[in-house]
């Protein structure tokens, strides 16, 4: 199969620091990736023609002309942060807009397919000073429409989130480390699914038999009340698109259905290897990269427990609330995520705030150890970046509150 992937991407980023929006970066990049597949072997090259192919059909060629609106929102974020907390000494706010048009044509298609992807991402950092001690809070959000002053519900919540995180850190302790039950909050804890099983379900690792889940297809791998999907059609989710980067229409794939491993995440190569249909998970960072199986928006369907019941069920453990980064070792199955904020749970109640600890688990074991699933599914609105094979893409994630019976929590 011969495939052409034509892409034009415009980006613009405005940054407020020290009360001034005095930095802008803007880019315009275009190119064509050419991939030849022969069995499972890929030959890839890309070039940057001064004139894109005739079949390339961008919907629009420029970013929205709303710089003054974006500048106003950045100033409004700073003003709001300073108004809400007198301890604020520094505010840094960034709005980054990306507009990507892609057209994909291959020898299996009669016509090219076209996709238009627009994302606007807001980042807010606040530094607080209290009795000479500094703490930093951070929040981000992914938007699908240009950032406008007239839509404060899209950007105002960042202020409260960033301030709350910084404030939490003043009161937080480093917990005692060890193995313990972990209640994962709804939304941001989607990182658990992403690191514990998501990467290990990517079918390139499985066709090479290097994933710890390589021999588990069709098996019961967790309790029957657990269902996990990867859904590229999820409205207003960071990893949503009309087509994947191989031209496969986006879809919702059941990875785990009622506790049973139902599907891996496939690109065309792995789908052919396994004799199944591609799942629309062939993604790439840009025309400079060949697609590989990636997550889009990965989430767990809600269960029946209330968050309150889940917390009450734990005698001694932690409640994990916000995270910065995570990673996984595909073969061993060991995954980690860095817990930025959370709480101790003592006798069924949230007690002392905790901070800055790494949490380790083993994918199959952690999945099997999810004993309670909440009824409160939340899709995380933060900007989640996922790195694999030297490529970074935006992904979405979500989860209801869950209880993992045992994870290893870093601490003192």
């Amino acid at each position: 199969m011969l495939e052409y992937y034509a892409e034009r991407t415009e980006t613009r980023s405005l940054e407020l620091a020290d009360g001034l929006v005095s930095q802008v970066s803007q880019s315009l990049m275009q190119g064509v990736g050419e991939r030849e597949l022969e069995g499972e072997s890929t030959r890839y090259t890309y070039y940057m023609p001064q004139h894109m192919p005739e079949w390339f059909a961008p919907r629009t060629s420029t970013l929205p002309d709303n710089v003054s609106e974006e500048v106003a929102v950045l100033h409004a974020l700073e003003a709001l942060a300073r108004e809400q907390d007198a301890r604020v000494i520094k505010v840094r706010a960034v709005v980054s807009s990306t507009l990507t048009d892609v057209s994909i044509l291959n020898t299996l298609m009669e016509q090219p397919v076209h996709d238009h992807r627009e994302r606007h991402i807001l980042h807010l950092h606040v530094v607080l000073e209290q009795e000479g001690r500094h703490e930093m809070g951070f929040a981000s959000t992914v938007l699908f429409q240009p950032v406008m002053r007239s839509n404060p519900s899209a950007w105002q919540p960042l202020v409260q989130r960033a301030l709350a995180q910084a404030d939490h850190l003043y009161r937080a302790i480093t917990p005692e480390g060890g193995d313990m039950p972990v209640v994962m909050t709804a939304g941001a804890s989607g990182i658990l699914l992403h690191e514990a099983i998501g990467h290990a379900f990517e079918a390139d690792f499985n066709r090479q038999r290097t994933s710890i889940f390589s021999d588990r297809m069709g098996q019961q791998i967790c309790r029957p009340h657990i269902t996990i999907v990867d859904d590229a059609t999820c409205p207003l989710c960071a990893g949503t698109s009309a087509y994947d980067d191989e031209g496969i229409p986006s879809q919702c794939t059941y990875l785990v259905h009622e506790g049973r491993l139902e599907s891996y995440l496939h690109d065309r190569i792995s789908a052919q290897h396994y004799g199944v249909r591609p799942t629309g998970n062939g993604r790439r960072q840009s025309f400079r990269h060949a697609p590989v199986p990636r997550m889009t928006n990965t989430y767990m369907l809600p269960g029946e427990a209330t968050e309150e019941d889940i917390i009450h069920s734990v005698k001694k453990g932690i409640y994990a609330q916000s995270f910065t980064n995570g990673q996984v070792q595909i073969g061993a199955g060991d995954f980690t995520f860095f817990l930025k904020t959370g709480f101790l749970i003592e006798d069924g109640h949230l007690t002392a705030p905790i901070r800055d600890v790494n949490v380790i688990g083993n994918g199959p074991r952690a999945l099997a150890d999810i004993s309670l699933v909440g009824n409160n599914l939340v899709m995380d609105s933060s900007a989640g970046y996922c790195g694999k094979a030297g490529q970074t893409v935006l992904v979405g994630q979500g989860i209801p509150t869950v209880l993992v019976d045992r994870l290893t929590v870093g601490g003192i």
Partner: protein
């Protein structure tokens, strides 16, 4: 530059990359990629305003539109007097001896030759052990050229290259576990790139991980293997950035000149070593680079101050960042260090974790081995180390002399005492 005229100060970078990647999995070609890219990075300074613009669309009409839009966009910003071109006296204007760190011939070497090298590393491993699941051997090379031009009169060029051969081996472990590890070598010149030993070392490293498990929590002596030791330096380097200091989000704020680590924390950035990776005479803002002492026997000697942060902090600019880091080594091998320690945990990889840039508190996942009197007793995984990064560097008690001179960070294996593992 002629399109900009006298309407702005400007810095223009022309960048060209030529790259080739070959991946061989279980003796079959999995992927070949060869590409060449060029791009322009334009930084404009208009009436105290700074804008950064980037494109790969070069036809004259598009470039004119690009320049006009960039000028117009920059004018929309707030003036900020700190944002100026590097001053003429800090600019690199050429004249350094050739750095000899670019292998132009990489572009001409046929793919088949590179593929043979990757296959050779793979052949060292295949069929050597019944537990092998998969062997992934890669050859990657890259030539990077940069030409920098400013309205202040700087015009300089550099070229660098690297080529890497590596192998990743996955083996069947206990239960469902499939431990994986790898090894690789990187050189500037293809003629210097060894093919022997890479596959064998990768297999040995993968097999020795079979049976990994956590140890009881406690305080152990920690030996960090050279290839992953830079991970622990990174929080210090990030905290030395002028931007972090200016934003009051650095745990090294106010610590210049103070002792922040043990006597053995002795670190130099030397960008002028001929024939080495990381060598360069200029940063991308055009400023000339200089050898810079970062830590002198534990004392913090400098921050990374660029032109705008120099203005804002009232400090003399130093450099944008590091280029070729060199920690003063000893003459000891890793094995000699391990034998000295009695019982210790040898950390061979970090698994996630982070360090709070404001406070310096860290927590990292690790894997490695319990070692007694130099003998590897038990492969270890599923553990964290937790503490404060400056306390950790204060507890550095030994360094080896086993750093890889072909890397850009020449950090030997390190011994830290009394580290909290759980």
């Amino acid at each position: 530059m002629s399109m900009i005229g006298h309407r702005a100060d400007a810095r223009l970078l022309w960048l060209r990359n030529v790259e080739e990647t070959l991946s061989i999995i279980n003796r079959k070609v999995d992927k070949q990629q060869r590409s060449e890219s060029q791009s322009l990075a334009l930084t404009l300074y208009v009436e105290g305003r700074e804008g950064f613009f980037y494109t790969n669309v070069f036809d004259e009409a598009s470039l004119r539109r690009f320049v006009e839009r960039s000028l117009a966009m920059t004018r929309l910003l707030a003036p900020d007097e700190s944002r100026t071109l590097v001053s003429p006296e800090r600019c690199y204007r050429g004249g350094g001896v050739p750095l000899l760190n670019c292998d132009d011939s990489l572009e001409e070497v046929p793919t088949s030759q590179k593929q043979s090298m990757a296959l050779a590393t793979q052949d060292e491993v295949m069929d050597r052990d019944s537990r092998i699941i998969s062997v992934d051997s890669r050859y990657v090379d890259r030539i990077h050229q940069v030409h920098l031009l400013t309205t202040g009169g700087c015009e300089v060029s550099e070229c660098s290259s690297r080529c890497t051969l590596s192998t990743l081996v996955s083996v069947r472990g206990e239960g469902e576990a499939r431990p994986m590890d790898g090894w690789g070598q990187t050189r500037i010149f293809l003629r210097d790139l060894p093919t022997e030993g890479i596959g064998s070392v990768a297999l040995e490293r993968a097999l020795r991980k079979v049976g990994q498990r956590p140890l009881p929590a406690g305080r152990y002596t920690m030996v960090v293997e050279s290839p992953v030791a830079p991970t622990l330096l990174q929080p210090l380097l990030s905290a030395m950035s002028g931007y972090a200091l200016q934003q009051h989000s650095s745990f090294l704020e106010g610590r210049l000149g103070q002792r922040v680590g043990s006597d053995l924390l002795d670190l130099l950035d030397d960008p002028h070593q001929v024939g080495t990776r990381g060598a360069t005479y200029f940063d991308y803002d055009g400023a000339a680079t200089h050898p810079l002492r970062l830590f002198d026997h534990g004392r913090l000697c400098t921050y990374f101050i660029d032109t705008p942060m120099g203005h804002k902090l009232g400090m003399a600019p130093t450099t944008q960042g590091t280029h070729r880091l060199i920690m003063t080594p000893s003459v000891l091998s890793l094995q000699e260090l391990l034998c000295e320690q009695g019982e210790c945990i040898l950390v061979t990889d970090f698994n996630g974790g982070n360090c709070n840039p404001v406070t310096g508190h860290f927590s990292y996942g690790i894997e490695g081995f319990l070692v007694r009197d130099g003998l590897y007793v038990q492969p270890v995984c599923g553990m964290n180390i937790t503490g404060h990064i400056l306390d950790l560097w204060q507890s550095l008690v030994r360094v080896a002399g086993d750093h890889d001179p072909y890397e850009t960070e020449l950090i030997p294996s390190l011994v830290f005492e009394d580290v909290s593992f759980c």
